[in-house]
Amino acid sequence: MTTDTQNQMDIPQLSKEDFKSDQMVKWCPGCGDHAILSSMEKVFPQLGVRKEDIVVVSGIGCSSRFPYYMNTYGIHGIHGRAAAISSGVKLANPHLNVWMITGDGDCTAIGGNHFIHAVRRNIDFNIMLFNNKIYGLTKGQFSPTTPQGSVTKTSPQGSFEVPFNPGELVIGAQGTFFARTVDTNPKMMVDIMLEANKHKGTSVVEILQNCVIFSNKVHDLVTNRETKLDNQILLKAGEPMIFGKDMDKGIVLKGTKLFVVQIGVNGVTVDDLLVHNPEDEDPGIHNMLARMSAPEYPVAMGVIRAIKHKPFNDMMDDCIVAEKAKSKIKNVDDLLNSGNTWEI
């Protein structure tokens, strides 16, 4: 505790201005990325780390231009590989605060393998997955999260593909942290990003993001003023799962399924509702919550899963400390002269 406080005292008060880059932001007017950038500029001064210790890593795609728009250390990598690059940055220097910015194509198609393995390893970095359910930069082809039947440039008769749900992928890959938020709710984005940063291990935040050109209104049910409150639920640890414009609906577990119920109807009370426990090791309920889709269910927002497992990078560092203490080989001269040698 003392060290944390001292460290924080060494860090000058930072503001949004400390992270603004001098580069022109080239996303389309109305793109959800602008709002995400703005939230992130609010989040970085609140992290309690030096601005030089933040590294933003991305792959390829509209979202992946992000590092150029933040005045931090950053790498704009190659398509799909941001998770691998981030892993290397964090393992090489665990003191750095690493943020990976990716999209649904970059992360779950070309980078799918790196994504699931990064999640499984639980290296301590934050993945911001902008999900607009379309390929934007290549101008409108379906992605692994595009709903089946969608008409896109490469599915002119409607897509045949069954989409991924990023939450299920994370949970299936032994993920320790998954949260969801949406580009139209800056306050929620800031709160969730801060939660993700607090989590020790790989934190995945799915940000439902609107592509104004190629998948406009793909998240309309959860963003539209008229419908959004009835189609999303903000999950809070220790609280019953209530939602709706009039906060009169809830989620219950009956048998092996979740159901939406009306409070006060058929004798249902708040006490009957599920209480959210993001720290439950058992991923069963978390998986069901991540799967919920509108309009049958409200889309789950907030921290769905956050369990405490020791991050990979801490294990690696502990192992190095232990080996340094016990090994007879202290330097490369020792190594060269170890084992079977002879004199001439």
Binding site: V57, I60, I75, R81, A84, N93, I329
Partner: protein
């Protein structure tokens, strides 16, 4: 033992090639390495090569399951693991079938007669028993009932036959130790150490070794004992080392001298895996080994570590290098240092995973989109892997560029005698790290001599910057699509690599720098080329050798060395890659080429034959 030496004639030999062959489960690699230890103890120079099947346990008793180990040891300098064996130990019919073609026509062949039963020789593909059908008449055949005598030697130890037979390789070793006038003490010490917790196994191995030794002493067939005097090696401490371990240790040494933590991101692939395994052992040296989910993640994690200030390395073999191409391009563009070790094997595609080739040269040079120059270094021998890896790391960090280090399966698995250097005696490594708040720092500002950009490491105050695969403005580092800027940057990246020629030695010629024939080779063939050329030089032939270790850039004097020879022949284990690279760079010369593409190394004898035939055409 004094009696033995009196009883038998001792014949002095300059060099010997000895090969052990048996079933995968017969322990031939251990037998070979124990004999290597005895050669080391006797002060010989030596080189070894293991030859094992791609399958972990191919069907027992078949030719596919034969595992071999060859050692070439001598009183003279030894540069190769040898062409043909003077002495071959064949533990079963399959190993005789598979390896007899690698034995000299008058070789001594030691066989376990107990395994030459009908079932055994039929399984190996013989129609009749080769020990009895006269086909072995030209050889000095020593027919020993090795299995029977092994079981008999340990009869009263209460071991079951299966366990007892496990030490039959030590019977063979005993015979060979006698044959070469070597002591058994060192080997016994090994048993005591290795099987510390199992005294009965120590006893069994000691007895079987002794039984083999005594058998050799008593049989009439061994009329003479051979002696190989110590080699004339420089004073110092020596060890035996394989190319893969040497590569790993060279990188660890570079990490220590550059004061950069080493980060290896890698994915297991034959024949490169041992480098990852070796680095993973040495966490006490601060080494971070990361076994990634694939080849791409191997290099990308390493590139991330490079950005964060580590000595970044990735290791692979041909197919893996293909997968890493795009990320090597990112390293070229971001001008981040990284060493890519490619242990070449037979290709294309999966090819010949356990066999060696030099066929990734063009891939290393040009296997990327865009104009993507990199430094390429090729290790010359198993021991040179240590120095080549060290040098690759030095060039990568000092010139801020990816370096591809080419080794190959022969170097990787083969071993040589290594004179242990002091780490302090190795060249300095000075990474161009930028100090905090340097007011002049710009991501693509360059050193005026080397043209490298500078390394601004995350966490350092006042140097925040972004790198990436998009073309960058010179020198601000902002994204730029400006046409003239792109041309400038492409040329700068090329020039930066070319200028490395100012920091590497000139190409040496072994022999006179003019003559009839200049023999050109590169990478892992050095030992065999040198041996062949030295033999011809001794015969008075006007031949010289130019063996290249630096491929990109080529040494500055390269074009000058070709002028003074009537003919130039480029020899390589591929279909002609270096020769075409030379044709492209120096079209003013005519090059002959000699290629072998059989997954096998050159033989000294075939090289000599080829060179003599070229000389005869002059």
């Amino acid at each position: 033992m004094g009696d033995i030496k009196k009883k038998n004639q001792i014949v002095e030999l300059d060099e010997v090639v000895l090969r052990f062959a048996g079933d995968s489960g017969d322990g031939m690699q251990l037998t070979g390495s124990l004999f290597s230890d005895s050669a080391a103890f006797a002060g010989n120079d030596f080189a070894t090569f293991p030859d094992y099947p791609a399958e972990i346990r191919a069907p027992q008793g078949t030719v596919a399951g034969v595992s071999g180990f060859q050692i070439h040891f001598g009183h003279t300098s030894i540069h190769t693991s040898g062409d043909y064996a003077d002495v071959l130990v064949a533990m079963n019919p399959a190993s005789l079938k598979a390896t007899l073609k690698w034995a000299k026509s008058n070789a001594t062949i030691i066989v376990d007669t107990d395994t030459f039963i009908e079932k055994g020789f039929l399984k190996a593909g013989y129609d009749t028993n080769p020990l009895e059908d006269g086909s072995m008449n030209d050889y000095n055949l020593i027919k020993a009932p090795i299995s029977t005598m092994t079981v008999a030697a340990v009869a009263d130890l209460g071991l079951d036959a299966k366990v007892a037979l496990k030490s039959k390789n030590m019977f063979a070793l005993g015979v060979v130790l006698y044959l070469f006038n070597r002591e058994t003490e060192k080997t016994n010490e090994f048993f005591e150490e290795k099987f510390k917790s199992k005294p009965v196994i120590v006893e069994a191995n000691k007895r079987v070794l002794k039984a083999g030794y005594n058998y050799a002493e008593n049989v009439e067939v061994i009329g003479q004992v051979y002696n190989v005097q110590p080699a004339d090696l420089e004073k110092g401490t020596y060890r035996n080392i394989t190319g893969n371990v040497a590569t790993a240790w060279g990188l660890l040494a570079a990490s220590e001298r550059s004061k950069l933590e080493i980060f290896l991101g890698s994915y297991p692939i034959t024949p490169a895996t041992e480098i990852l395994q070796e680095i993973a052992k040495h966490k006490s040296l601060g080494a971070k080994a990361f076994q990634a989910e694939d080849e791409i993640a191997g290099i990308c994690s390493s590139l991330g570590a490079s950005y964060a200030g580590s000595l970044a390395v990735t290791t692979t073999s041909g197919p893996g290098l293909s997968l890493k191409s795009e990320a090597i391009g990112l390293a070229v563009m971001t001008e981040l240092p990284i060493v890519i070790v490619n242990v070449q094997r037979g290709g294309p595609s999966t090819g010949l995973p356990t066999k060696s080739e030099q066929s990734d040269l063009m891939q290393a040079l040009y296997g990327r989109n865009g104009d993507g120059p990199v430094i390429i270094v090729a290790a010359a021998s198993s021991v040179d892997c240590f120095y080549a890896a060290y040098l690759s790391a030095k060039l990568a960090v000092e010139h801020m560029t990816p370096v591809i280090l080419l080794t190959d399966g022969s170097l990787a698995n083969g071993s040589e005698v290594f004179k242990i250097p002091k780490v302090a005696s190795l060249m300095d490594i000075n990474p161009p790290i930028v100090k905090a708040n340097d007011p002049d720092y710009l991501p693509y500002r360059r050193d005026s001599e080397k043209l490298n950009r500078f390394w601004a490491i995350p966490g350092t105050e006042g140097l925040r910057h972004r790198l990436g695969g998009l073309e960058k403005d010179n020198p601000s580092g902002n994204v730029s699509h400006d046409p003239i800027n792109h041309e400038t940057m492409v040329k700068l990246r090329e020039e930066k690599v070319q200028r490395v020629a100012n920091y590497i030695p000139e190409q040496e010629i072994i022999g006179e720098d003019e003559g009839d024939l200049l023999i050109v080779s590169w990478g892992g063939t050095y030992g065999v080329m040198l041996t062949a050329v030295e033999k011809l030089q001794k015969e008075g032939k006007k031949v010289s050798l130019a063996h290249f270790r630096y491929i990109s850039p080529l040494p500055k004097n390269t074009n000058e060395i070709f002028k003074n020879f009537k003919k130039v022949v480029v020899c390589e284990i591929n279909n002609g890659q270096f020769v075409n690279y030379l044709r492209m760079n120096f079209p003013e010369f005519r090059y002959e080429q000699y290629n072998k593409i059989q997954g096998l190394p050159f033989l000294v004898s075939e090289l000599e034959e080829k060179f003599v035939s070229i000389l005869n055409e002059l």
